[in-house]
Amino acid sequence: MKEILKTLEGNARATAEQIATMTGKSVAQVKRAIKQAEKERAIVKYKTIINWEKLGEEQVQALIEIKIAPQRDVGFDSIAERIYRFPEARSVYLVSGTYDLAVLVVGSSMHEVAGFVAQKLAPLESVQGTVTHFLLKRYKEDGEILEGETAGVRRLPLTL
C-alpha cells in the first residue's frame, strides 16, 4: 500500500499498469489499494502544481499570522473551521509560537487579499490580531523547485 501511494504521490498521472510494474504488484492489487485509500481519504485529492506566473497570471498570496483567544471547550478548532471554510484560505495550520493560526490566502490582487483579511478574518470574534506577509517569490512548493532548477548539468553521455 505504502509503496503504491509513494509512487502515486510522485506522479498522480501514473496508471495502475505503470504502478503495478514499478512496485511488482498486480494491476488488481494496485487498483484495490488506490480505491481503498481514496475511500479512507488517505488520498485526499489529485492535484497539479502549476507555476501560474509562467502564464502571466497575476496571483497574490499572503501568509497571515492570526492570534486567537481560544474558546472554552472547543479550543482552536471551531475558530479554525470558521476560517478554513472561506475558499480564499488555501491552507490553515495551528502552530506553536507567538501566534496560533497560520493561514495561506490567495487572491487576484493585493487589494483583494487585504480586503479579505480586514473584512473577514480580523473582525472574527476571538481573533486578537493579524499580521499579513505577502509572498514575494515562490522558490519551492510541495517539494518541487519552481525556479532556478539545475539546468545545464550534463553527465558524460557514456561511461563504463
Binding site: N11, T21, M22, L158, T159, L160
Partner: protein, 399 residues
C-alpha cells in the same frame, strides 16, 4: 577477455611501455564520438547515478571550503572519516576494522583497485576476473604486471561466478580473485551461499580476494553479503567500498579500502608516493554522507527499484530476454534474437533510434550477445527508450 590487444609500441625507442601498449583501447571510445555528434539521444549508457549528491552532503563540503579546509590530509585519510567507515562496517556487517591501520581512504574504488593489485602482485602472478566484468579489473591486473584469467559467466546462471569454473582456471601462479557483486555490467548479485563456494576455493588454494562492493547498497529484495564476513575471509579480503553510486557522489572521488594491516600498509605506501591523499573536500563530504545520508540512500534505492522493474519488464516485452538483475543499476538483456552482434546492435540502435546502450563485448568476450542498459535515468526517458527499442527490434526481427 580482450584486455591485451596487439603490442603496438615496438623497440627500445617506442614512447609507450609494453605494459601500457598491450592494453586494448576502451570498447566504447568509438561510440563516444558518435553519441556526441547526434541530437536527441537518450542515453542508457551512463554508469553513474542521475541524482545530484544529497544537498546536506554538498552543503557540508561547501561549508568546509568556506572555512578554509583546502589542504592535504593524512595519507590514510581524515581520522574522522576512517572512524566513520569503521563504525559503518561494524554496524552494517559486524566487521571490525581498526581505523588506525586497517582502513585507507582512496580516490574512489578505482584507485582502490589500482593500489590493491599493485600491492599484491609480482610479475606474472595470475588473477581471476569474471567475464563479463568491470573493465578496470583486468586492466589493473595488467598494469600491475599480473595476468588476468577471465572466468566465463552466462545468462543461464544469472551471471554468477561459479566455483568449479574458477577452480578449473587456477594454477600455481594464481594469487587472487577479483569479484564485484552487485556487478557492472550485468546487475548480477551473489548470495551468501554462492559466495561461500568462492571462499572455499580461496581458503583451499591460499588466495587473496579483492572484493569491489561499490554497489553494496543498491540491492533489491535481498541482503548484500560482504565477502569479508564469510568465515576466515576477513584476513584474505581486500574490501573496496565507495560513495560514488549509493550517495550519488561520482565526481567527489572518494572511496576506501579495508584489509589486514600488512596489506593496507603496502597499499598506503603506493598511495603516499603516487597520490599523497584523497581530496579533502571529497573526504569531508563522505563523512557527512556516512553520518547522516542513510535516508537519502534509501530514497534513491527505492526509485532505482521502480525503474528496474519497468526496464526489465519492458525489455522482456519487446523480445530482448533479460534475467532479473537484483543489484546495481544495470539490465543486461540478450540481443541474440536479432541476429546482430552486440556492437552492431548498439551502433544501429544509436543511429536509427537514437538510444545509446553499451555493447556487452566491451566487458569481455562473454558479454557478447548482450547490451548494458543503465536505468539510472528518468522514468520518462526509460519509457521512451523502451518504445524506440521496441520499434527497432520488431523492424529487425528475422523472418
Amino acid at each position: 577477455m580482450s584486455i591485451t590487444g596487439a603490442v603496438r609500441a615496438k623497440g627500445p625507442r617506442g614512447a609507450i611501455s609494453q605494459r601500457v601498449g598491450q592494453l586494448a583501447p576502451s570498447g566504447i571510445r568509438r561510440f563516444f564520438g558518435l553519441v556526441s555528434s547526434l541530437e536527441g539521444v537518450i542515453s542508457l549508457g551512463i554508469g553513474e547515478p542521475d541524482f545530484a549528491t544529497p544537498w546536506h552532503v554538498t552543503e557540508a563540503a561547501i561549508y568546509s571550503l568556506e572555512k578554509g579546509q583546502t589542504m592535504y590530509t593524512a595519507t590514510y585519510g581524515l581520522p574522522q572519516l576512517r572512524h566513520e567507515v569503521a563504525r559503518y562496517l561494524e554496524d552494517r556487517y559486524a566487521l571490525r576494522y581498526s581505523p588506525d591501520d586497517e582502513l585507507l581512504i582512496t580516490v574512489g574504488v578505482s584507485q582502490g583497485l589500482d593500489l590493491a593489485t599493485r600491492a599484491i602482485l609480482d610479475p606474472g602472478d595470475e588473477v581471476i576476473v569474471p567475464d563479463p566484468g568491470y573493465v578496470a579489473y583486468g586492466s589493473c591486473v595488467v598494469l600491475a604486471g599480473g595476468v588476468p584469467l577471465a572466468v566465463p559467466t552466462s545468462q543461464e546462471t544469472d551471471f554468477k561466478l561459479e566455483a568449479p569454473q574458477v577452480e578449473a582456471r587456477l594454477s600455481d601462479r594464481t594469487k587472487a580473485i577479483i569479484i564485484g557483486y552487485p556487478a557492472n555490467p550485468t546487475g548480477a548479485v551473489m548470495a551468501k551461499g554462492e559466495l561461500a563456494g568462492i571462499a572455499e576455493i580461496a581458503r583451499k588454494h591460499n588466495l587473496l580476494v579483492i572484493s569491489d562492493e561499490i554497489y553494496a547498497r543498491l540491492v533489491y529484495g535481498m541482503e548484500h553479503t560482504c565477502f569479508a564476513t564469510l568465515p576466515g575471509m576477513k584476513e584474505r579480503t581486500i574490501l573496496l567500498g565507495g560513495f560514488s553510486k549509493a550517495y550519488a557522489m561520482t565526481g567527489w572521488r572518494v572511496g576506501y579500502a579495508a584489509a589486514r594491516a600488512e596489506i593496507i600498509e603496502a597499499m598506503s605506501k603506493i598511495h603516499q608516493y603516487a597520490m599523497l591523499c584523497a581530496p579533502i573536500m571529497g573526504q569531508v563530504a563522505a563523512i557527512e554522507a556516512l553520518s547522516s545520508g542513510q535516508a537519502a540512500v534509501e530514497e534513491m534505492v527505492a526509485e532505482y527499484d521502480r525503474r528496474r522493474r519497468v526496464i526489465v519488464k519492458g525489455l522482456n516485452d519487446i523480445g530482448l530476454s533479460c534475467f532479473e538483475p537484483k543489484g546495481a543499476f544495470y539490465a543486461f538483456p540478450s540481443v541474440r534474437g536479432t541476429g546482430m552482434s552486440s556492437e552492431q546492435f548498439a551502433e544501429r540502435l544509436l543511429l536509427e533510434e537514437r538510444v545509446a546502450v553499451i555493447p556487452g563485448s566491451a566487458f569481455g568476450a562473454c558479454g557478447e550477445g548482450h547490451v548494458r542498459c543503465c536505468y539510472a535515468a528518468s522514468l520518462s526517458d526509460i519509457e521512451e527508450a523502451l518504445e524506440r527499442m521496441g520499434r527497432f527490434v520488431s523492424r529487425h526481427s528475422p523472418g
